[in-house]
Symmetry: C2
């Protein structure tokens, strides 16, 4: 087992979760919600999971100014809060954290873990992170590929290639390629082949290697991040952020680094053998057996029903229904139409009804 | 046209409306609700309709002690409020009013009109009442048979027989028989025959004739009602009511008088050529084009959606859905399952959850 002494976890906490409206709201996004009934938000669950691996001062969160106070409130022991002035996708967020952490701790290894994912087995997760850190120490950008439990078309896939020979990481393999969300037949082929895993966006890398790739592949973005990192622990942090951040290239880490570097043989994958989901919509929430919360009377019915305001819901004669009540709004749909829920906030936005977004 | 000078309207205001839960509640039953969006409750609409025919002091309401204050509040000009100590079905309610009114106004004609029905054309309704009063003056118990707009299985039917020869009532016919709610094929035959109409429970009769039939057919009930009526305008009203009312036979006017007297040729029918419904369930409410109230966002959906608490409802990808939100409860079903809604208050009652009934 590798040491986690040099390991720093970074939690990008962004994303609107519009397919989880009206639970997920602009002011109260998915990662701040207790969707699983654990009594903790998805962000807090992520924090708790990482806290079994490293101390609190080695866990960092990157979020926007609107949510920063709530993040700090939910995580009172958090000392490493990065507030990005505006959302620029995942690469600037993770890159900034890596640049600052790398400057403070030469030789640091950083790992990114989204704030809104569900992991069923923290021990298995920890074992995968340890393996990934061992591989990352060798200089490879390392991802944790989730063993697929179904031929899902909701996730991107990672194709594993040759076995690597890394001490403390016996199951590490090179990544042949990353592929976008496939159609059903392709997903079926992937899962049957045994060499594909789900891309959960979990990347572990030496900070210097990550920034080195970035310097080659996205030099403008890299230069901006380095400028901000240089100013970070000085009085110049805020002015530098405000002048530089808005001009950074908005790009996902998958496109900026994972995909191009995989073509060069620079990416490794270790298996994640644990239940995992990103709860993209209410069908995913239902699949987690989080069917109902509160007082629900089912009459010849089934599906998912939640009343966040503690009132009583009665459903009569409907199958696979989705009912979500908050104090100011109500969604009624079916599991089958779960993806289409994003149309509602889109319509509200079009009509300028920001109070319901 | 007959004079309405001797005519008194009686509005029995009872009935739980359990198929309209959670709109219709024990404390706020169907007849007290503005279901049609008219700005007036069904009771108030009934009152307004009758007020085009007779002055306020010739309109009487029979209701229970729980609802009496709300009835009086909704109808500030009401002077004839009969409070029945407990529900004993329609015959004791109408019989009591007839006995009291008949004592005060010898020769009075009484007509009963349920508090929770919708009539689309007050003028046509008024014309039917005038015809019915003219027939009732001759001594016949007279009902208004609603011209069926469909072969509904939700209502009982009235079969008309020979034409009668009553001045001022050219369309009056004898009633051959009353029939209970039919199956679909039978309903179809009825409507095609042209001689069947819907039984809306509207009965018009001379008070003395009504009580005479009752004395023959339900002597125990008749004796009790006469005792109460004798005491009504004296200080003995309340003691007499409390001792006698609980022992009265609970029976509907249809079974007590309409059916047996029709076999003797003592019932007449005049046609009611106006839109009519008793809004028995949400499918009926939807059929009245009262589909939605409040702020509803339909995405590839249709049906009925109401938020009584003024919040926003979004429905995605569902056809013929029923969504009814109140401040303390929510019903989700389909038009097809509208009749089954009564199972919800039944379950609540079983579990002693009276606050939601």
């Amino acid at each position: 087992m590798s040491s986690l002494e040099m390991f720093h976890a970074v939690i990008p906490a962004g994303g609107a979760g519009t397919r989880l409206w009206p639970l997920s709201r602009a002011s109260r996004p998915k990662f701040l919600l207790d969707l699983t009934g654990s009594g903790r938000s998805l962000l807090q669950d992520t924090w708790d999971r990482l806290l079994t691996l490293v101390p609190a001062d080695q866990i960092h969160v990157v979020t926007g100014p609107t949510h920063a106070p709530l993040v700090q409130e939910q995580l009172p022991d958090l000392t490493g809060l990065f507030v990005e002035p505006s959302p620029r996708d995942s690469m600037p967020a993770i890159g900034l954290a890596a640049a600052v952490i790398g400057r403070r701790h030469p030789g640091a290894i950083v790992g990114s873990f989204a704030a809104d994912q569900v992991v069923s087995d923290a021990d298995a997760f920890g074992a995968s992170v340890r393996e990934a850190v061992a591989v990352a120490e060798t200089g490879l950008i390392t991802t944790i590929g989730i063993e697929p439990r179904s031929p899902s078309t909701a996730f991107g896939y990672i194709e594993a290639g040759e076995m690597l020979d890394v001490p403390d990481a016996p199951s590490a393999r090179a990544v042949s390629r990353f592929v976008e969300k496939p159609d059903e037949a392709t997903a079926d082929d992937y899962v049957r082949s045994g060499s594909f895993s789900w891309n959960a966006g979990m990347f572990v890398a030496r900070a210097d290697m990550l920034l080195g790739h970035l310097a080659r592949l996205q030099p403008h973005l890299h230069a901006g991040l380095e400028r901000i990192a240089l100013a970070w622990d000085t009085p110049e942090r805020q002015p530098e952020l405000e002048s530089t951040w808005p001009n950074l290239t908005p790009i996902a880490i998958d496109h900026a680094i994972a995909e191009p570097v995989s073509l060069e043989g620079g990416i490794a994958v270790v298996p994640g053998v644990f239940g995992w989901d990103d709860i993209g919509d209410f069908a995913a929430l239902h699949a987690l057996k989080q069917s109902s919360s509160g007082d629900v009377i089912w009459v010849d019915s089934n599906g998912l029903a939640r009343a966040e305001d503690g009132t009583t819901i009665a459903v009569v004669g409907l199958r696979d229904v989705v009912v979500v009540r908050t104090d100011d709004a109500l969604l009624v749909t079916s599991l089958e139409h779960a993806q289409q829920v994003k149309d509602v906030p889109a319509l509200l936005k079009r009509d300028g009804r920001t109070e319901l977004l």
